[in-house]
């Protein structure tokens, strides 16, 4: 399986966040996104997940089926291969820790053996002693671990991780790095925006430049409407 970005650009709120970024990532690889605040790491991840439309370029996935999937044409098929972790943990305070995780196990995975996957994930992230407690009583770190545990109950090959280690202690970071390593060993891939060193050997880096001040025209763009849009 191979995920490729071909000269992708993103415009949000009339501002060009990044332009003409290309990369390819294969099964078993980790791509670390680096760059200062505002360089567009989160936007890039949201573009890849199909939540934010691309302003130019294309994202393709090959190796899943016979033909090459394109994010703009086969969005739902591609999205069903993704698990994405953002700044928010999607934790419902009215549910117990186990109930929260069980829901995501069903949404991002298959219904069968969901219970076993949930139990394994709770143990892995050290949440089993509070599994029956309300998520409202969790600390910030516990909520973050619960958010990350969603990855481990998901049956999805591509992980998009936006600052996954925020508010985690060193031990939890190590647990998380192990999880990513195991995921890649099973043929998965991960793209992570992070400022800290996860200690992943197989990781490659993609550095995003800080966005230039003001509006900038992209001369190489082949879409006339795109450049007009940039002036709004």
């Amino acid at each position: 399986m191979k995920l490729e970005a071909h000269a992708i650009s993103c415009i949000r709120g009339g501002r060009r966040v990044f332009s003409r970024i290309s990369f390819a990532i294969e099964a078993g690889e980790v791509l670390i996104l680096r760059g200062p605040n505002g360089a567009g790491k989160s936007s890039l991840l949201r573009c890849l997940s199909g939540l934010v439309p691309l302003a130019g370029g294309s994202v393709t996935l090959s190796g899943l089926s016979e033909e090459v999937l394109d994010l703009s044409d086969d969005r739902e098929t591609m999205q069903s291969q993704l698990a994405a972790i953002g700044h928010l943990d999607a934790v419902k305070p009215g549910f117990t820790v186990a109930e929260n995780l069980r829901f995501w196990a069903r949404i991002w995975g298959e219904n069968d053996n969901a219970e076993a996957r949930v139990a394994a994930a709770l143990t892995r992230f050290g949440l089993d002693h509070i599994a029956q407690g309300l998520a409202a009583h969790c600390s910030a770190g516990q909520k973050r671990r619960l958010g990350l545990a969603r990855l481990s109950v998901a049956a999805r090959p591509i992980w998009l991780l936006d600052e996954p280690t925020v508010s985690l202690d060193a031990a939890s970071v190590a647990v998380f790095a192990d999880l990513v390593r195991a995921h890649c060993a099973k043929g998965g891939m991960a793209i992570a925006a992070t400022h800290i060193d996860l200690g992943l050997e197989a990781a490659r880096e993609l550095v995003l430049e800080a966005a230039p001040r003001g509006v900038q025209m992209d001369e190489a763009s082949d879409d006339p409407f795109l450049d007009e849009g940039a002036w709004i």
Binding site: V52, P93, R150
Partner: protein, 218 residues
């Protein structure tokens, strides 16, 4: 899709979920009307069909603003967009759960409130029937407005302004069915119109809400 339905239902009955609030609002509004009009049986009887329907749709509106907003705010919606089920089905499941927690209790309480407003006894059956057919449309139309205002803080007022005009056909058909039945006329034409509105909403609203959600979240 079913897991989203049951999850929303369970959340509604947990702390801060708000199940039953719409019903209590419905009860209070009807009681206030009785107080406000001085409790004249004849006055109440004449306004009962319209008043019950107006209060039903206002109560429905009360809990709509959290339909998607709660999930957008805590990041759940991003995850739901990546679900194996299409977003349209997610929307339909959430609207169905909303109906079960707001529309259904109102239908069950309607006979008691109808008695409070001195509704013609012959129209009780029609009131329940028209609410049962019409309230799903309220949740479905409301889902479009809720999707459009999902990322707006304090979007409840804006939601009302968007959705209430769209409720007019449902209100007219529903209230007229009850009124016709109370006056001893045939109510079937109005019920037919109400069914058409609900079926049309069931077919179109999930697509409209899903499209609105995609824009809201991009």
């Amino acid at each position: 899709m079913t897991s989203i339905f049951w999850r929303d239902l369970a959340l509604a009955f947990r702390i801060g979920g708000g199940a039953g609030q719409a019903l209590v609002f419905f009860l209070l509004a009807v009681t206030l009307l009785a107080f406000g009009t001085g409790g004249e049986p004849d006055v109440l009887r004449s306004v009962a069909p319209g008043a019950l329907w107006v209060f039903a749709l206002l109560s429905c509106l009360l809990s709509l603003d959290r339909l998607f907003q709660a999930d957008v705010e805590d990041g759940s919606m991003d995850g739901l967009m990546l679900a194996s089920t299409p977003l349209e089905a997610v929307v339909l499941a959430k609207a169905a759960a909303h109906w079960v927690t707001t529309g259904l209790p109102m239908i069950l309480a309607a006979p008691i409130l109808a008695a409070l407003l001195n509704l013609e006894p012959a129209a009780y059956g029609m009131l329940i029937l028209s609410l049962a057919i019409g309230t799903p449309a309220l949740s479905l139309i409301g889902a479009i407005g809720a999707a459009l205002t999902a990322s707006v803080r304090r979007g409840g007022m804006l939601l009302s302004l968007l959705v209430l005009p769209l409720y007019i056909p449902t209100l007219v058909a529903g209230a007229m069915a009850v009124r016709a039945s109370a006056a001893g006329f045939e109510a079937w034409p109005y019920l037919g119109m109400l069914s058409a509105i609900t079926l049309g909403c069931a077919a179109l609203a999930p697509f409209a809400s899903a499209a609105a959600l995609r824009i809201t979240l991009s």
